[in-house]
Structures are given as structure tokens and as C-alpha cells.
Symmetry: C2
Subunit: 190 residues, 2 copies
């Protein structure tokens, strides 16, 4: 998606070690118009997979998942990283390594909002190692739900997430695909 690629080219920063800083428009400050355009595009790409719900992980998955869900006319559930007091005693919980935090984090979904028979479209900001998304897949499977698609804003192909997720056998779509980040460059697969 050219609009997103252009924005990463102008405002993204390669911090080294595969870390892409997009804090100015996705991860800390958010550009709502860009996020809406990304949601519209993801909704278009997954228009025919029969999703009944969008699933994401807090925190930075919320914005793209919300706009995608809005364009698909679906509810969105975000997995929590800690269990709020409003959640029931018994929940679906899995742990996944966090790339940006350098530690394991919990991903928690209440069975109230993830049920058997649901067709789940997973949306997140990044597809890197795929560990967070794989955690969301496990949560959905624990609930007896079916994954029907995986969509992200930015994919770093050199971190292998797509290979990890391929066996699930669902469409995987990313709006900006980065082939390499060596030598301070950001090289897109266009």
C-alpha cells in the first residue's frame, strides 16, 4: 500500500537490530487518517474470508484492528496483557515473547468474547517473528474458533513470521513489506 510505504520512507527510522521506529504515526502518535486508510485496505483484502470477529493484541494492534473492524462492520477484541478486575475468574491465557519489550508477555482473552464457531481475522501492527500473532492463534484455537486470515500493517520478512504462520493455511496480508533493514536502509518489497 503506497500511502503507508511512503509514510514509512518519510517518517520511519531504522534504529538498527531490525527495530523500525514508527512512533510518529502508528505506535505512540497515531495518524487517524492513515490508520483509517489502512483499515479500509485490510478490510478490502479480507472482504471474502467470512470473518465474524477481529482479534488483536493490546497495545499497538488496537488502532489498525479498530479501523479494519469498522470497515468490515465487525466487533474487535483486543487481548489484554494483564487481567482487569472486570474479567471473569477463568480466561484464555497464553504467553508470547515481546520483541520490543525483550520479555515474555501474557495475552488474555475472556471466554465471553471469544467463542467456539467464531471466524477470526487477526490484525496487528507488525508481522515480525510472528510470536504475538501465533499467541493470538493459540487463544482462538483454545476457544474453538477458526482463524480465517491474518493482516498486518508492516511485515519484516527477514524475521520469518510468515514461515511460522504459513502452516495455518490462511491468507496473510501485509500493507508494507520490508525485505531488509541492513546498513540503515529500509528496503521494501514492492
Amino acid at each position: 500500500m503506497l500511502e503507508l510505504i511512503k509514510r514509512i520512507r518519510s517518517d520511519g527510522r531504522n534504529l538498527g537490530n531490525g527495530i523500525l521506529k514508527v512512533d510518529g504515526f502508528i505506535n505512540h502518535q497515531v495518524d487517524p487518517a492513515l490508520m483509517d486508510a489502512c483499515g479500509r485496505e485490510l478490510a478490502l483484502r479480507f472482504a471474502n474470508v467470512g470473518a465474524t470477529k477481529v482479534l488483536t493484541a493490546e497495545i499497538s494492534g488496537i488502532a489498525p484492528a479498530l479501523t479494519t473492524a469498522q470497515h468490515l462492520g465487525l466487533p474487535v477484541v483486543y487481548a489484554r496483557k494483564s487481567k482487569p478486575i472486570t474479567m471473569p475468574d477463568t480466561v484464555f491465557l497464553t504467553t508470547a515473547p515481546s520483541h520490543t519489550k525483550g520479555r515474555m508477555v501474557d495475552l488474555i482473552v475472556s471466554p465471553e468474547y471469544l467463542a467456539g464457531g467464531e471466524k477470526i481475522l487477526i490484525i496487528d501492527d507488525f508481522l515480525a517473528s510472528g510470536a504475538t500473532i501465533w499467541g493470538l492463534v493459540r487463544l482462538a484455537q483454545a476457544a474453538g474458533a477458526t482463524i480465517v486470515g491474518i493482516g498486518t500493517l508492516i511485515e519484516k520478512v527477514f524475521e520469518g513470521g510468515r514461515e511460522l504462520l504459513k502452516p495455518i493455511g490462511v491468507p496473510i496480508e501485509s500493507l508494507a513489506v520490508i525485505k531488509s533493514m541492513e546498513d540503515d536502509q529500509i528496503v521494501f518489497d514492492e
Copy 2:
């Protein structure tokens, strides 16, 4: 705002001790159409305050802040609760007690995205004790920015947040105002 009040009446739950569960449409599962309507209404109420940026706190402030910012055509910044590796070494940080977590949490904003001279509209899901919003006010003031308005989805008047924030001297708007939650009731101020 009648649409939100109706939804709280049908799907909200009074868990006692002033805890209102809205996990089915705001805090865990999100209804994007409702959130868009709330954002449109908040944007309307703050159309004339001259805001240049919307500020909120992760996690559950993100959805209403994003839709409000979208309707105002402004960027939105969400204060982080932990400092990601993409953030500069020196940041604005304050601590505030979290009602739902029962402990102090950090609120962190990068000086890259909160600058002197900005006119800040604060949006959050709840106005309860006002402690989180007061923390956001301190962050904005530390940056030399000016607060021009405070908007929330749900206000629990009996927790006193409005009195705490009143001295700031800006408009405070809430879309659903709850007067009392005694005896399993949810009594709105309509």
C-alpha cells in the same frame, strides 16, 4: 448521548464498589460503530476549542481518542505505561493511581510528540477519580502545552473527578453521566 447510555443499560454491568463493566463494547471487545459515533459526538462538542492534538492513555483510551481525533482531523498521542525501546532516553513521565489495577502506573510521553505551544484535547474512556486524566494534564504541562478540553465516554460523578479537574478551567464533557451505582443500579444523569 442516548446511543451510549442505551448500550450501557443493555450490556453494562454494575460489579459493585463503583466498578462498571463495559468489556463487551468498550474495554476488551470494542464496537467500532459505537466508538465512531462517540468520536463524532466528542469531536462536535470540542469543535471550537482550537485543539491541535488529542492526548489519551493506553489502553482503553485509545479507541475513543482515535475516533475523536479522526473526526477532528488531528493526530492522537497515547501515553505509554512502559517505555518502549523506540523511545528516546529522556521522556516526560508521571505516575498515577490506576482504579482498575489497584496500583500506581507510569504515564510516559516522548517529547517528540508533545511540544510547547500545542493545544491539547484529552480524551479517555472513563472520568472517575480523575487521577489518570490529571496525570495526562501534568504531562502536557511539563511539555509546555496547553489543555483546551477534557472529554470522556463515561463519567461516574460520585467519584469526584470533575471537581478535581475543574480548576484547570477547560470544558469537561462526558457522553454518559452516571449519578449513582448503589444497590446494583446504574442511575444516569439525563
